[in-house]
Symmetry: C2
Subunit: 457 residues, 2 copies
């Protein structure tokens, strides 16, 4: 009864029926009217006064305090947006492939063994259990020279870059160099941390190291340049490390999809050549699921404490349940198995896409096909990119334009970045068909008559 | 065989046996020596060249590139630190109470229903499924005036404060006001975002609103001041909101343990009185587990887009698996049941502690006992706090000193903040005994002979 009195009064005050200064009935009167004990009304008034809705419960006049009037319109709730009809967005794995049952089993097994203290406030650097498994995985799968003590667990590459940028900003580092083209949101992170952004162009051998402006850090995608798909050539790797040794420039190696190479064997990470100047960044976003939010950094000794301090400052630590389940998935070999399975699946999809494009558009230039989750269809100008995007949009095909995506700080190039991993398996053939139809509508076949399909390795 | 050749050469280059410029044997020679096909050796050399270990595979002289020499010392792995023997640290729930099996079940049920798209890159604001459940919970349990659309899901209060600070810093807001005393790491977050910190003292009615300096935001703990344990009095609530209406100061209500009130009923959040000026911050850290990293903000319309933009910039989105499992726990009523169970457990523990302290130290001033996960033992000076901490440390009791904890920007007060929730249930009696023993050793009983045990409501 007391709660009902409170609720009724709160509602009346909220929706303005009881305005500021209005006198409430004396407790004795209200109790008689409602046929309840006076103590019940008194208790309700006391609670409302404690919460700040009314004033002066003990004197004669109990009045309404000043409170925002705002009729409660109810809550329609919220709904997550549906996926596009044909999902060919780049940088996304097949979300239906996330091993849901295996993940739940891994979490259950991990929680069966984890000490209670694992659930408490813990290490900003990351769970030791995960770092130990992850270091072994990175040595095995990506050739890293890394120990558990070198790793920092993050919530993905976005946070990894944020942490490195904050650590450098605290040292008054000057500029951070990016590849041109590169992801605009990454450059935005660096700018938001108070650092300047500079760029160097990318050619068929990767970033032009000789055109890199002075910088405290270069953020690079050596394994597979995003979005162009070029692998950093051996002589550029040597040049880059030479530069680092000379002027102290650090390299942040964004190894976002290093596990997915279809032609030839995986190329060991740059970090393995010179772990003292290369910060290695990995993620579970492409191999498991983007929504999982798990990433990691291998950080050289000189910078590690600052990166961990930034992590502690910004969000204290990464969630332990994901960390423990992922450690168990690594330990059991389930992660390796999943990657092998997905590598085969994505390679098949790439082949399907190349065949379909080659049959219909023999003159279209296709790049970045040896690895990764997407390839690049080059287009000659802004008009053809816009036409192709409009045609794709009209057929419900979601993909990314090269100029549209703001990858370039300067004059953009043109093309479509087509992600062949993002759709579900059963929907893939239809997505490719829709893409081919859209490209046909846009007249893409005639845009570069002299080019051949090139499949760089 | 090819891999063994590669591994052997990588190892020799890493540990310095093959130095920069050293010539590798010609492929033909090595193939003969190893009795393998020349093509095998050539493939190994090509891979090593691609990765940057050697140069010039196609000419006559294949030489070792410049690579950091660094004998691999193996990886000892990492170990998480053990918990203290007697864990009376403040602000921590009993980690053994985390409902492990129920959480795994909730995740399994949530994953059985979630669309595939839920695992993709998703909303920086948070899963709509969780926001819908959470809004209903906050209306029901904390009296909030909130809809799903008002909420932002974060990884805990640390990130919540970071996001609000970044959103304000982008507007060139001036100062942020804190209670004196308050948590130093929170003030550090605000400073790191480039904002000034100002403070106002706390008395028996909560923060002295009349002493609040001009500020764009006041970060407050109205339900239970941390660490003093005072509840913000009704007249102070009115004064605070009047101030906000007058000069536009926002309030960030840190409702870190609002569910845990033992004497009397929960006090509805300040946000319910004036949702247009109060940003409400909640967390699962005290009710479930700190390591979970789940928090939430109810943000007034005017600031919400900026807070969501800061979230997207800093770490893109909160992990979906935790969000979906938590939504299911809210939906099923499991979260409410867990809180009711823990509220009873912690109230029993508080009573045990008060009885033990009252019996042995009748003159000790004990504050902040009506709610929360910890209480405050006031001590008269630095020497007595240091003595008490040393005695506690000697017995393996982990707790927090008021001066030691850097809660004060100015002259500190002295005391011990004793967390009665942090230990496991079976270990609690021994922890209280160890604390009482330590306080006896430190001579605490005689520090304030004139004071009585006061239990403010």
């Amino acid at each position: 009864m007391r709660e009902r009195i409170e609720d009724a009064l709160r509602a009346a005050i909220r929706d303005g029926r009881l305005a500021e200064g209005a006198r409430l009935p004396p407790t004795r009167t209200l109790a008689r009217d409602l046929s309840v004990a006076r103590g019940t009304v008194l208790a309700a008034y006391t609670q409302l006064a404690t919460e700040g809705w009314i004033r002066g419960t003990r004197g004669a006049a109990t009045t309404v305090a000043r409170v925002a009037a705002d009729p409660d319109q109810g809550d329609p709730g919220a709904t997550d947006p549906p996926p596009p009809r044909h999902d060919l967005r780049p940088g996304r794995p097949d979300p239906s492939a996330f091993p849901r049952a295996e993940w739940v089993r891994a979490l259950r097994r991990a929680l069966a063994e984890a000490p209670h203290e694992a659930l408490n406030y813990g290490s900003a650097q990351g769970s030791a259990v995960l770092r130990t498994e992850l270091a072994a995985y990175l040595r095995r799968a990506r050739g890293l020279r890394v120990r558990a003590a070198d790793l920092v667990v993050t919530t993905g590459f976005t946070q990894s870059l944020t942490l490195v940028a904050h650590a450098l900003a605290a040292r008054d580092a000057g500029a951070v160099a990016f590849e041109e083209p590169s992801l605009e949101p990454h450059r935005a992170i660096v700018r938001a941390a108070g650092l300047a952004v500079v760029t160097a162009p990318v050619d068929a051998h990767g970033i032009r190291v000789d055109e890199l402006p002075p910088a405290a850090l270069a953020v690079l995608t050596p394994n597979r340049q995003h979005p162009l798909g070029v692998t950093l050539a051996p002589e550029r790797r040597a040049q880059l490390l030479e530069r680092s040794r000379t002027d102290g420039m650090l390299v942040l190696e964004d190894d976002y999809d290093g596990e997915f190479r279809y032609d030839g064997r995986p190329i060991a990470a740059l970090q393995s050549l010179e772990p003292s100047v290369v910060i290695y960044a990995g993620t579970a976003a492409k191999a498991l699921a983007p929504g999982l939010r798990l990433g990691w950094l291998a950080v050289p000794d000189a910078l590690r404490a600052d990166v961990v301090a930034a992590k502690e400052l910004l969000d204290r630590q990464t969630g332990v349940l994901d960390q423990l389940a992922f450690a168990e998935l690594l330990r059991s070999g389930g992660y390796d198995r999943h990657i092998r399975k997905m590598r085969l699946r994505y390679r098949r999809r790439r082949d399907v896409l190349l065949t379909a494009l080659g049959a219909r558009f023999p003159d279209l230039e296709v790049a970045g096909t040896a690895a990764g989750l997407n390839l690049l269809l080059r287009l000659p100008d802004a008009a053809s990119e816009e036409r192709a995007l409009a045609a794709a949009h009209a057929r419900g095909v979601a993909l990314q334009g090269l100029a549209e995506g703001a990858y370039y700080e300067g004059e953009p190039e043109y093309g479509l970045i087509v992600g062949y991993a993002a759709t579900q398996e059963h929907a893939y053939a239809a997505a490719v068909e829709a893409l081919v139809g859209a490209l046909g509508n846009a007249g893409v076949e005639s845009t570069r008559p002299s080019a051949r399909i090139s499949i760089p390795s």
